[in-house]
Amino acid sequence: MSGDLTTRTSGGHPAAWPLGLAGVVLVIAGSFLSWSYDSSILGDLSINFYPGSLQILAIILAVLGLVLLLIEKGPLESRLGQWLDATLGLRALGLMLTLYMALVLIAISVESDGLINVNPGGYVSLVGAVLLLVGSRLLPLRQLRDLGQARLPGWFEILTIALMMAAILFAAAFALGLTEAWAFVLCLVFITGVITALFRTGVMSWFGHVAQRHKKVLTLAAFVVAFFFPFTQGGSDANMSIATQVLIFAATAMGLNIVVGLAGLLDLGYIAFLGSGAYVAAMLSESAFATIDWHPPFPVVVLIGACVAATLGLIIGSPTLRVSGDYLAIVTLGFGEIFRLAMFNLDGTNGPLLTNGPNGIPGIPELQIGNFNFGDEHTVAGLELGRFSNYYFLLLLLIGFVILVFARLNDSRIGRGWVAIREDEKAAEAMGVNVFGLKLLAFAVGAFLAGVAGTIKAHQDVAVSPDQYIFLESAFLLAAVVLGGMGTIAGVLLGATILKLLPEKLRFFSEYRLLLFGLLLVLMMRFRPEGLVASRRRQLEFHEEDEQLAVAVESKLAEEAK
């Protein structure tokens, strides 16, 4: 069967296009019919001619398919056909739509009792999705022009960025609003479907060029979107709590990214720096269990916490940075454990009373900066903002600062030194680069940033205890960096979001969480070792043999230099 298909695709099958169109029509028609007999699951998919939200997602996918079909052959062909690869897009879309519909049927039969609960509409849409998939496999492959040359008016490109960002905000709010795990999974499949289709058609690669041309607009838009996110939550703390955790995790991962991604040092005890910041903030806080009777204002605490963490970084770094690679990983892993055990034992009996041992320091009061108390609720323009929103905005500032430090260090003499060290340590030393000093600097800066994040985390979590800073957390931080893409900003933010958000939303998976992450990492290492969002340089490092890639990267560099 498949051999038969591939031979035909080279020329294209006459039935392919009508088949695809029929598939799209069927999916849409099916989505207007009832999918499920049970109205209490998946946000009610049981009413005819009144599509529920999951059905609307299917319709959106189908409409996207229709647009691609029209680009393939139809009114849009003359304008977009030479730029966009509609065939590949349709294939990806067909696959994801089929997966989506199959998962819908599975979800319905799991959530209520068996396949009997699936109404005809579900089958109609599934058949449509399969038709679209088959049709797309029969379509011919196309020759395209280089999207790097595509030029549209500047205002249009900026508008695209704005639309993209608005879509992200909307999707985030929508996905987080889904309370059922299955609905959330389906929504993820939908988002993945749209994104892969856009990637395969080349829209994303065009968007990459656009982002390159309007870097500042993109950054600004991203922060605006992040800023408006709390306003979409209607005062609900459930998602905002997750969001603040994601931000802390992302800020810490970003700091680790300096160590791992830029300087190329493997650090498996990084959580200790976050912990030291948190402990400093807790000990100096106004909590009844605080062990130091001095309560400076918060900015001072931040500075102290960061400096303590950076000092720890220097202390652990100066002897250990003489070893490299796996050995460094082992030493840092040991350091992480030493930190946790030290916090465990500084309880007044085994050592000085600093941390209350395993009990930790609970009852840390809300942050108070000036007259602004972070525990208060506010109403801005009729929209409620709860406690977590306050922390969210503060953390947004923090992550902006971390990104700033990261980006500027990367693009400086120091960043070049780091790359040189990663490339060839001996040659770097022979060219006068202070190898040891730069490694130590990476350690100290990373620790400093984690320390800052820790001081905020202590107040947001209300309590600190040693069991928050176990090795597993360090491993997750490292996984976020590796999964997202070492040395990139967007990648690590994405990786941190995935690793923190998914376990929160998919609690019924929690037993298999580690298994799934392990599997994910293994697959990533096999198929995309450079991470989801690849730093160009890292991509080159992971693919030493790939000459084509090197040439492609070079032409991109030349484009940027212009």
């Binding site: 003499r413 022979a430 090197a550």
Partner: protein, 316 residues
Amino acid sequence: MTVTNEVRRPASAIGEPVLEASGVTMRFGGLLAVNNVNLTVREGEIVGLIGPNGAGKTTFFNCLTGLYKPTSGQVRFASVPKAAKKPASAGAVEPNQPTGALQPLPPKPRAVVRAGMARTFQNIRLFANMTALENVMVGRYCRTTAGPVTSVLRGPKFRREEAETRARAQELLEFVGLGRSAEHLARNMPYGDQRRLEIARALATDPKVVLLDEPTAGMNPQETRQASDLIFKIRDSGLSVVVIEHDMRFIFNLCDRVLCLVRGEALVEGTPGEVQSDPRVVEAYIGTGEDDDDDEAGPGGAHVQDTTVAEQEGKS
């Protein structure tokens, strides 16, 4: 070949000693790699280091650049107190500065670079995934000072320094003839260009002495000629050059003085004419089958021919 004290001297004139190795011995366990070798490099001089494979040339080189600490003996270097400001010069390479007194080599390779000695490697060690320009900019590292705080704050000083680094790197790329390849990845560049890029990167550290480890290895005759032109150009801008080479014709054309090492010992040192007519050198090379001169004439003929070329070069 007269020694003058004027700033503009004839290209072949020789100034104060800038690098002096006395009695350098390097022992790896039972292996005596370099035995009691002396070498003096003077300002504006090209010194060649020849010898058959395994003669200890690269080991000696590593002693000179501080990568190895000699078992006994001393390397002294006229480290120049570096003027903080670089005068905007038309030539790409720093003009001459007054030579300081000879001092023992600083303990770290990095400090040696700072003191004014730069090197290239026998097997090219570029930062392969960086562009040509970035490679040279890394070479500027030890002459720039922007720290982490400056880099994050990006004040005018940082911008100025960054712009200067970039401009100087571009200037050096043009100096070695790679001005148009600035945005190419080092790993994509042709072999000869990589060699030249390595030299540009070494020059970016503002050295007094450049040590080139087999700069023409694997090059075709045309590239070799370009390389020797480049080395003359570097010498003419006031630097001293030490070259390790196998290619005898190349080295006799190029160098003011040649030191021949055999089995870790200095066999003979002198002008190219003296060295190549020395029967021991001929024996060391032909005896070990190392003469890779693939001229159509036999080895003897090649040597005669080399002498004439070398003499012409000296006159010009």
